[in-house]
Symmetry: C3
Subunit: 327 residues, 3 copies
């Protein structure tokens, strides 16, 4: 139940199984704006699903998102659902709906992110983040090399592909040394409905370094060409208008002060149009906060988001408070 991506399916179980899993993330958010300051109780995610093996090499994963703040209508809907045939550690083939295998930030399970929000660049440029398709995964956490390649609609969940072309997405990670992993992602596709000509190309580079109690990780994503604002990016994120070329990056540090208490700091930037100087949409964000793990099922997360506008400053910082219980 840790796995949200097909390739990381637990492979130690044998015989037909059915596991129920899920998590809820009730949250309280406060926005430091000019004038009256919005603040609300809400949910981030609220997920429930089942997974299991139905035969030695066949497994399934079936998960609903029920948070009213994700998806188009606020009702419960099918999010990740796929069938996996594990021919081999180097060839796990999945068919269904799952996250595009692009970027460390995107492929980290939503209940294991070190900060409440994913990076802006991952939420804005890896869109759709979830999609229908077929993919092949290779490697596990003990291998130096891991890879994933998927052929997907490119249109996201809830709709059929509305052009005749498919998108290809891939990611490779490699452990240079035991505690340093580097990776690269690639995507080429046709994002626009009823359009088989205008293409889009994306690249990503990433690293993750664990040095004792310190975790350092960073990513850079570059993206160019056509795009479609209607393809949903990260969970509940609002799409930003993009130029022909766009990019962004983040670097994150977390430190285990104790087994339970982990302060975290993240700096990131996102440029929706690299060809415009002093672009109003350009943004930087500093996130400071901490994770407190009561145990492996219960986590408190408090994040202060300092949004930095370099062109025209706006008061739009936010304090997010979340409690997560996994089951």
């Amino acid at each position: 139940c840790e796995a949200e991506l097909p390739g990381s399916a637990n492979d130690s179980v044998s015989g037909p199984t059915i596991n129920i899993f899920g998590y809820i993330q009730p949250q309280y958010d406060y926005f430091f704006t000019d004038g009256e300051q919005a603040n609300t109780f809400r949910f981030k995610r609220a997920r429930i699903g089942v997974s299991g093996k139905v035969l030695n090499k066949f497994s399934y994963y079936f998960m609903l998102e029920t948070s009213p703040f994700i998806g188009s209508s606020g009702d419960a809907y099918l999010m990740d659902a796929f069938i996996t045939y594990e021919a081999d550690n180097w060839a796990k083939i999945s068919l269904g709906s799952f996250k595009q295998p692009f970027s460390l930030d995107v492929t980290t399970p939503c209940h294991s992110l070190p900060t409440i929000e994913r990076s802006i660049v991952a939420d804005q440029l890896v869109a759709p983040q979830r999609d229908f398709g077929v993919g092949i995964w290779g490697g596990n956490k003990f291998n130096r090399l891991n890879y994933a390649v998927a052929l997907m609609n490119g249109r996201g969940l809830g709709v059929k592909d509305d052009n005749v072309k498919k998108d290809i997405i891939g990611r490779v990670t490699y452990k240079v040394i035991r505690n340093l992993s580097i990776g690269a992602s690639f995507r080429y596709g046709y994002p626009i409905p009823n359009n088989n000509d205008d293409d889009r190309t994306s690249f990503g580079g990433e690293f993750a370094f664990e040095f004792g109690k310190l975790l350092l990780q960073g990513e850079y994503i570059y993206d160019e060409g056509a795009y479609f604002a209607g393809a949903a990016g990260g969970c509940g994120s609002t799409p930003i208008a993009l130029g022909e070329e766009r990019e962004g990056a983040y670097i994150l540090a977390a430190y285990d002060v104790t087994e339970k208490f982990q302060p975290v700091v993240k700096y990131e930037y996102f440029d929706p149009d690299v060809n415009i100087k002093d672009n109003l949409g350009y943004s930087e964000r500093m996130t400071v906060g901490f994770n407190y793990f009561v145990n492996n099922k219960v986590r408190f997360q408090i994040n202060y988001l300092a949004n930095i506008e370099t062109v025209a400053s706006v008061n739009n910082d936010a304090l997010l408070t979340q409690v997560q219980v996994k089951f």
Copy 2:
């Protein structure tokens, strides 16, 4: 799985658990109107969820409403979902979505109501009935005193708070003698979207008396100030236009003729505007019917609802027939 309110969570379990629970209420309704008389098979509620403990003091509750006749779209949606930290019998703290702790009628679990419909006053004035927030509960069924206080958005499920103020809601019950419990409820909030000035104040008084095989219970609710018709009240109820001050009450008697057969009678009134004489919206209702408990999982409920208009009489009585199975 009996619990719909955080404070009544089962506290005897230890270790990580996951319980599946739910119930369905298929129904046949017949309306004694003038002209052609509408009648329909339908569902009242159809709920499924999981609950459990993830650590000694942490528990979770996660429940979907799937009846097409509750909620805005008819699809399945997240209803009650919360994380509870039980510091103590006198301090059980919950975060998430749950019913506002106001009124005996509202806080009675939806599968344990003595009549098919809640009282009109509870459905109309305790709106929203469910909300996002944080609350603290104290006491259990063995204590004379029980209390609950919650800070909530005041806007209901499915949406973020759309003003900057929060609502405060509370309820206290006290067992005067072993079989007589009295209680009071209070709510103060800001119900209107984008409005931080117009407030609303509600009071409720209640009693419940068990004398051998006889159950007597009654409630009075008074409510004044601003209101917002878009905040959903009771399950599927249609909001009635309200004046500045409004009130209502009910009294209910049930008698266990046998362990399985329980006739019930309820008289209630609801006045949506106490300042208008001969208000067309004023209504009285007499409900007569019975519960038949096949066992603790299967219940038949038949209710005749005699709606009494004191100003202009309308033929609008109804016969409701429900079968409930809990699992």
Copy 3:
């Protein structure tokens, strides 16, 4: 969990039980049209539910459809949900939502259909396919005679009945010899909202013959009178405009080459208006394909659908590829 129809509920269990069941059907479809050829990854069905006994004679069934391509909005919704009281093998009474007991094709569980698509005639004329109501079932697979009669809204899922009349639907099957079963279906109802006058009458005839490794089955459905396009027919099918009288039929042959590999061929026609010669809507379809059962939980299904227009030929053949996992 094999049962989608009340009457086929498993009757060997005793004591309170709760079984989780479901299946997912990820699919890849390719359409051989003129010009650019649409093709898409998608889901056919994605269902999850619980069922069980709550008492010796009382059982429940509660199932959600979560496929984004079935239902009005794409979100998860309550599909089949009913309470069954089994007085006797000849009187199993169910209340709730379930498929109308009409036609072999419709009443075959959606995970056990020999071809990916149901017959056009069953999807178009047995509308609504699912409905709220009460029904009585008799017989089991060991009996020569099986019957079902249901009184239903006639309006389909998600809505209350919007006229005052109910529909009556019934089906009888009889095993002439051990391997040859014949059956007849009947429906009489008032399909149009707010209309208690215009009626609709449907008849169906069917046979199923198992001769060693060969399965032969066929059906004919005739339907006349009023209809309402808003009542959903088969899973995700698009309603075709109908004349006063309409009919259709199919014949299907499947052969178990091995225990796992089963080629299948189906011929069908559908005439939406039998009173018009050379009707543009008249269609014939030849389906050829096979089922490959990895085991009883995992099935591959590949179907080529040759759509034959006798009046004006159109390139609209399709290749459907499905993997199904049941849990």
